[in-house]
């Protein structure tokens, strides 16, 4: 693990916080005449208070080697750091006087490390400035330096940038001084955050672990579910490579669900906007009216092969619930759907649809009574009964292997769309635009374009009443990294790490998280995520209905809304693809109410 040094300690009041944070090294500037110089007696006092596990480093600039040796022998300091012109001879002399670990500060110029004496044990990389020996507070270039010695990265490190620094440079240790101060004094909170951030760089270990997209993903579920996840992972590995399984699934998708879905050139909408050509990937024309059936059929078939005859699923707008109930009816399986009580009211028609298909619908009354609570309840129910039950998760979220399984089943969207656009236009689209809640239609629409670097991938989040209000569900715009629902990803949360209630007019997008692969695509800058408000989505809902005679799901209307802006950025010889993830019949009554008209489902 990366070593942690806090340097330039000048006041006793900082010591309790340093003891609590427990860095590896605490440094004192012991040559007089510098900004943070302190006396021998001050360091002696600190030695009494500092936790003995923290090594005390004396920092010197062209000082008397005999004085340094005395301080080491007296036990005032445990490690020596040299910031002046001390050469190999000097270090040899010092080590002869007393055996001690020596850190030598070395400058970097033009991206190259300046020569340093072989005799030192550890090198400290810092920006050089002859007038400000003992640390300049300036950053050196952050990149990988070739080294045969352990080295500490210093200069301009703060609690806020230390993780980035470690990721970029990969040092043996880090050192911060001025970066941990407020008004010239060490700040306890900054110290805690600095140390915590370095220790958490172990998160980079996450990348080498199973089921990760960069650092995101993982399997954060109770032990009671781990054996079920292992079983699922093995089964998926087996059947996803099984010709017969894939042939059966393809048959269901084509003959039953109506694939491939059309890639439709929206001529009127294109003319209305006056930019590039707009194509709609018509997932709304699938059986059950949304992309959700792609995944539901895949998982139901997989469960059946695993000998599990009971499906449970969460649903927000009800589209995934309907798709799962449909797959269960077709394959002769038992089915129970968990839906937030709020959503059962907003989407009453879908509730009845599920019942009609033979599923049992549980209205979830815990928490915020929406999608996140339906997921909670589904996970709890799964821990109750894993032997005969498969949790048919509806989005690219949750613990590994779900984000991968759901993405693979939805990837058919971009597999088709890429081929279709090439045959229609002879070129790739300038952008692919899709709405994002957990993100299953978006990842499905993006997946086969990820390798086409020239294709912009744009995810449209539900901003609700705006990202500057609390009534939003835009996770990338307003969320922070966290661990929830089985994954390390981005989540909307309050200032104490409690998951925040979210809001959107669309029941399918008001989820406080985003799938880990999206968090990764955002992190590496491969995909853009933009917020779209209720008002903008409702506007696009009406516009597409009037111009093309297509009533989109209010979820998909978020993508349509932003696509209008994107289309204007390109000329008539370019094209973009909008994933029309579902049809809007289910939303008609709610939109009427939103516009002040009272009609009943």
């Amino acid at each position: 693990m990366c070593k942690i040094k806090i340097c330039g300690i000048t006041e006793c009041s900082a010591l309790p916080a340093i003891n609590t944070a427990l860095p590896d090294y605490a440094g004192f500037i012991m040559t007089a005449g510098f900004k943070r110089s302190v006396t021998e007696d001050f360091v002696r006092e600190c030695a009494k208070v500092l936790d003995p596990r923290i090594k005390r480093v004396g920092v010197f600039v062209n000082d008397d080697a005999r004085r340094i040796a005395r301080l080491v022998k007296e036990g005032v300091i445990n490690v020596v750091q040299l910031h002046g012109d001390e050469d190999g001879e000097y270090i040899k002399r010092l080590k002869n006087l007393c055996p001690v670990t020596v850190i030598k500060a070395v400058g970097v110029e033009g991206g190259r490390v300046l020569p340093y004496p072989e005799e030192c044990d550890i090198v400290l990389l810092d920006a050089t400035d002859k007038n400000a020996r003992g640390g300049t507070g300036k950053r050196i270039e952050w990149r990988r330096y070739k080294f045969d010695k352990s080295f500490i990265l210093a200069g301009g490190i703060t609690d806020g940038n230390v993780r980035e620094a470690i990721a970029a440079v990969g040092p043996w240790g880090v050192d911060s001084s001025g970066g941990l101060e407020t008004d010239g004094k060490k700040d306890a909170e900054k110290i805690y955050r600095y140390v915590a951030n370095v220790r958490e760089c172990r998160h980079m270990d996450k990348e080498s672990k199973k089921g990760r997209f960069g650092a995101f993903g993982g399997q954060y579920v109770p032990e009671t579910l781990m054996s079920a996840l292992e079983e699922l992972e093995q089964a998926y590995k087996k059947y996803s490579a099984d010709e017969q399984f894939n042939a059966e699934l393809k048959y269901l998708l084509d003959e039953y669900a109506g694939r491939p879905s059309r890639l439709y050139f929206a001529r009127n909408l294109t003319r209305f906007v006056g930019g590039c050509k707009i194509y709609l990937k018509r997932e709304d024309l699938n059986h059950t009216g949304a992309h959700k059936i792609n995944n539901a059929l895949g998982q139901a078939l997989l469960a059946k092969k695993m000998g599990k005859n009971r499906l449970i699923a969460e649903t927000g707008a009800g589209q995934h619930g309907v798709a799962t109930a449909t797959a269960a009816a077709l394959l002769g399986m038992e089915c129970e759907i968990y839906m937030g009580e709020e959503d059962t009211k907003r989407q009453a028609l879908n509730v009845y649809r599920m019942k009609l298909l033979g599923a049992k619908v549980h209205a979830v009354t815990s928490g915020t009574r929406t999608l996140k609570d339906a997921v909670n309840e589904c996970m709890r129910e799964w821990t109750n009964r894993i032997a005969d039950t498969h949790y048919c998760l509806g989005s690219v979220m949750g613990p590994h292997p779900f984000p991968t399984i759901v993405r693979d089943f939805q990837a058919v969207i971009s597999e088709e769309a890429r081929e279709q656009i090439l045959s229609k236009e002879g070129k790739l689209p300038a952008a692919v635009v899709a709405c994002v809640g957990g993100g299953s239609n978006a990842i499905g629409a993006f997946y086969h374009f990820i390798g086409d670097k020239g294709v912009r991938l744009i995810g449209c989040e539900a901003a609700g009443r705006g990202i500057d209000t609390l009534q939003t569900a835009a996770t990338v715009a307003t969320g922070k990294p966290g661990i929830f629902h089985g994954m390390f990803s981005l989540f909307c949360q309050d200032s104490h790490g409690q998951i925040a209630p979210v809001y959107s007019i669309s029941a399918g997008l008001d989820y406080p998280g985003i799938g880990p692969e999206h968090a990764y695509l955002h992190d590496i800058g491969r995909a853009e995520y933009v917020p779209v408000t209720d008002d903008e989505a409702v506007e696009a809902f009406g516009l597409l209905s009037r111009t093309e005679g297509i009533i989109p799901a209010i979820e998909s209307a978020h993508a349509v809304s932003y696509a209008l802006k994107v289309a204007k950025e390109y000329g008539a010889d370019e094209n973009i693809i909008v994933c029309l993830s579902g049809r809007g019949d289910k939303d008609v009554a709610a939109i009427a109410r939103y516009k002040g008209e009272q009609i009943y489902d």
């Binding site: 693990m1 609590t20 944070a21 427990l22 805690y192 955050r193 140390v195 915590a196 951030n197 370095v198 220790r199 958490e200 172990r202 998160h203 270990d205 996450k206 672990k209 199973k210 993982g218 399997q219 954060y220 579920v221 109770p222 032990e223 009671t224 781990m226 054996s227 079920a228 292992e230 815990s366 928490g367 996140k372 609570d373 909670n376 996970m379 709890r380 821990t383 109750n384 009964r385 894993i386 922070k480 990294p481 966290g482 661990i483 929830f484 629902h485 089985g486 989540f491 949360q493 104490h496 790490g497 409690q498 998951i499």
Partner: protein
Amino acid sequence: MTEISQAFAGGKKAFVGFITAGDPTLSDTKRYLEIMQDSGVDIIEVGIPFSDPIAEGPVIQNADARSLAGGVNLGDIFAMVESIDKKVPFLFMTYANPVYFYGYARFFARCRQAGVSGVIIPDIPFEESSEVKSVALGYGVTVIDMVAPTSEERIKKVCAKSQGFIYLVSSMGVTGMREKFDTDILSVYRKIRAVTDTPVCVGFGISSPEQAKTMAQISDGAIMGSAIVKIIERYGNKADEHLKEFLTSVASAVHSA
């Protein structure tokens, strides 16, 4: 900080008791925690409430909701726990996100400062646990491992390096009172014993002194949460006498096992 092993000294069976911090208020919690250690509870689990406790049944879910509605936060919980004169080991039980959000190093540093010996985080299974264990270890805080009835082959890796005690989940599902137990707990216990000498306590669903005694007989201790929280749910800030009476009866049942 009290060593967890102290609770099992001389082969003693341990009674592990849980309540949620801030239910109904933090000052009530402080009093109740003191009652717990004075009524024979050998290890105390303090629940840090979370908005979405996916391993909990309705009783503890509701306790978390009551606590959060009262505006409880982690800083105040640390201060409350720190102010208790501890006679037995204290643990925190919570979920990954509040700990991650607070910062692992900061969280475990404050645990050490507050005299909290260990943590139970049910949504961090063995595979993901190195990121917390490596930090907790640096501050001398123990991370408790959990074993489920379905762990089977996993027991070997989960328990190989376990510390403190192993939390054996009595049956599938979430926390909360159960009438009977379908799992062959003794056989799971024996599988764990084949791997490690770390004590094993059984939890989930234990609600009466009799059940606690039965579980303690076939393991090293019994863990009880919902049944205690239920008393607080019913009597609010006036649960003192009811808690004393109930906890004493459970403690004597466990200690006679």
